[in-house]
């Protein structure tokens, strides 16, 4: 009995020691040498692993950043939208580099085809997936470019920054948005766009992506861009381009003068977080706080009524 025990312990002990020695040398031979700065960079990143930078996860972004620092001595083209400029400064400090400030971005929903503006003609009771509905039909309101309102963008958001407004049936972006771009990819119709957050969070954009001619576009939706190009003519900064019967405001050139908002015949251009204009005929709504909160929530229908057309 004792012999068996002794034999077993000795055999396993010797085997273990020999294998440990072999493993030690193998480990030395095939050692992976990693830049210690990768760990340091990863430490300062937000660790949301959202992919907003264009790389799969924060670890990969850290590796790419360190590689870029080694090879090009610059962090050009690399940006963590979640961490913003602060985090990028820290990353640059670790790597001994400088970074230029990036303009903060935010997701913008470019459709205002709410239940009121684009009333439903057919009823859809299939699965709640925009990707599927997009390949099945044009949309309840009939617009083949507009929001389907089934919330693929909401599902894709890791930051709780986009929600469906049950009243309008449209998604609404809130302040938690870090511009990771997940919703932009999730939307099968390309309605959501990342735009400059703007000074004091003020933004102007064309809230429509309908490429049809004016007639058919307006037939399906009251607030569609009809491609009249009035905004382009009035814009003093050449910020508006017309393509495929659709106006697009280049956010890099836009100076937020709001002239285009006034001339738009279909209220397709939206301004967000602007102070109230001076009333023309009737006094403005009494409660500015309410209007503000609506702006933050991005409730565009109310924007128009209470703000620009007051």
């Amino acid at each position: 009995m004792n012999d068996i025990l002794l034999f077993t312990i000795l055999t396993l002990g010797i085997l273990g020691t020999v294998l440990a020695v072999i493993l030690y040398f193998v480990a030395q031979k095939f050692k992976v040498i990693e830049d210690p700065r990768i760990d340091l960079v990863e430490e300062v990143l937000p660790k949301a692993n959202c992919g907003g930078c264009g790389y799969p996860g924060c670890r990969n972004f850290a590796e790419v950043s360190v590689n870029a620092a080694n090879e090009k001595q610059s962090l050009e083209g690399l940006n963590c939208p979640v961490g913003g400029n602060d985090v990028m400064k820290q990353v640059a400090a670790i790597l001994g580099l400088e970074v230029a400030d990036q303009e903060p971005m935010i997701a913008v929903v470019r459709c205002n085809g709410s239940h009121v503006n684009s009333p439903a003609r057919v009823k859809y009771d299939g699965p709640a997936s925009c990707a599927f509905a997009h390949q099945l039909f044009a949309g309840e309101g009939g617009c083949q470019f507009g929001c389907l309102g089934l919330g693929d963008c909401v599902v894709s958001c890791d930051f709780d920054a986009i929600h469906m407004n049950p009243e309008t049936g449209l998604p609404v972006v809130n302040d938690l948005c870090v511009a990771c771009g997940a919703c932009v990819k999730a939307c099968p119709r390309g309605i959501i766009e990342l735009r400059h957050k703007g000074k004091k969070d003020r933004r102007i954009f064309v809230s429509c992506v309908n490429k049809e001619k004016g007639g058919p576009a307006r037939k399906n939706c009251q607030v569609a861009c009809i491609g009249c190009s009035k905004c382009q003519q009035v814009c003093p900064y050449d910020a508006i381009v017309m393509a495929n019967n659709l106006a697009y405001i280049d956010f890099a050139k836009c100076k937020l003068c709001r002239k285009c908002v006034e001339v738009c015949p279909t209220d397709a251009i939206h301004e967000i977080n602007f102070p109230l204009r001076k009333p023309k005929a009737e006094p403005a709504p009494a409660d500015p706080e309410r209007v503000d909160s609506l702006h933050v929530a991005g409730n565009k229908e109310n924007d128009i009524q209470s703000d620009s057309k007051a």
Partner: protein, 445 residues
Amino acid sequence: MSNLKTFIIGGVHPPEQKLSATAAIRPLPLSKQLIIPLGQNLGAPPRVIVKKGDEVKTGQLIAQADSFISANLHSPASGKIAKIDEAVDASGFRRPAIFIDVTGDEWVDDVDTSPEIVRGFSFSKSEIVSRIKAAGLVGLGGATFPTHVKMMVPDGKKATHLIINGVECEPYLTSDHRLMLERGEEMLVGIQLMMQALEVDKAIIGIENNKPDAISHLQLHCKSFQGISVQPLKVKYPQGGEKQLIKAAVNREVPSGKLPIEVGCVVSNVGTALAVYEAVQKRKPLIERVVTVTGKSLSNPSNFLVRIGTPVNELIAAAGGLPGDTGKIINGGPMMGKAVSSPDIPVVKGSSGILLIPEKESRRKKPITCIRCSKCTVACPMGLEPYLLAKLSKLGMFDRTEGGHIMDCIECGSCQYTCPSGLPLLDFLRLGKQKTAHLIRTRKS
């Protein structure tokens, strides 16, 4: 009758509901304006060769097929081209279309419009194919694959059997049934023409056993046509699927991702066989087809011979008008058809039926969780795992759907039909198929 042939894996048996089976085919009067969408065939849409204001005659070429997989379009009536614009299609998307203001029905000269049946022919293989191509024929079963492409067997392959699909396994639809009964002889000439083009000596007409009149009618006429036989089949959905029909008729299995020619078979619909006859013997282009208009509340379920481009609401009006309780209009049969977004859409080459579903039946069951009963797996005629593939598609894992052979799905809807939880299995399979196909395409390029 229990030892009738059928396919082995899966399948379901929905209520047949062939309400219009006894209604003879009626020609529908010409509509005032016809809308001819360009993308009526699988593959590339043809190029428009007319312009606004042109006078056209019935059967005149109005859009020319430029690429290999494409089909010509002909004017279904004589009149004036009103405009070339976009028209709303069945799904609500706006697609390019030709609008024709109809003034009459004056045919182009070389078409033989006499009703006599021309039996004899002495065409070469290439002549038949070129006439089919000129007539703009597509598969009339619904997939609208250009027929001339099907008639050209690729190099190195040899067809042994021509299988004619008279199964009509979709509930409600009766257009093929009526065609077999009323135009059987012409159809058989068409089958002979196809046999000549494919150089095969055997043709099998597969017909489900719920159409005994069509079976006996064709069997009677078959005697005077060498090589053509009728094969009665057990009633089971989706026997009209190409791969299922080959399995049922000649007991061969098409390998995954391959075409029927791999096992020496070419499958064609009975409607296509008739169109081949008309195209070759009468030089008549594909400008009309038989459409079943049916529904439980419809006063007069009918089979109409309709010109392509006729608005669907005219068909419904001719069948007794839209019932008040209609909840859904389906283009096609109840299993594979899709609900249309407006009754103003035109009839196209691929429309086999218009089905009106009453409001109370048109709603989907509220989906609950999958209970892993595997009914869908049992029902799948392709031997797939619909519950898994649907879930993977929903989660966007399209690399794994490819491994699960999602591209073999024939979108028959048997899985969704059997699902006791009311899950939208087919919907996600369709989505997964599209995305997986995109994935495969991008990888290739």
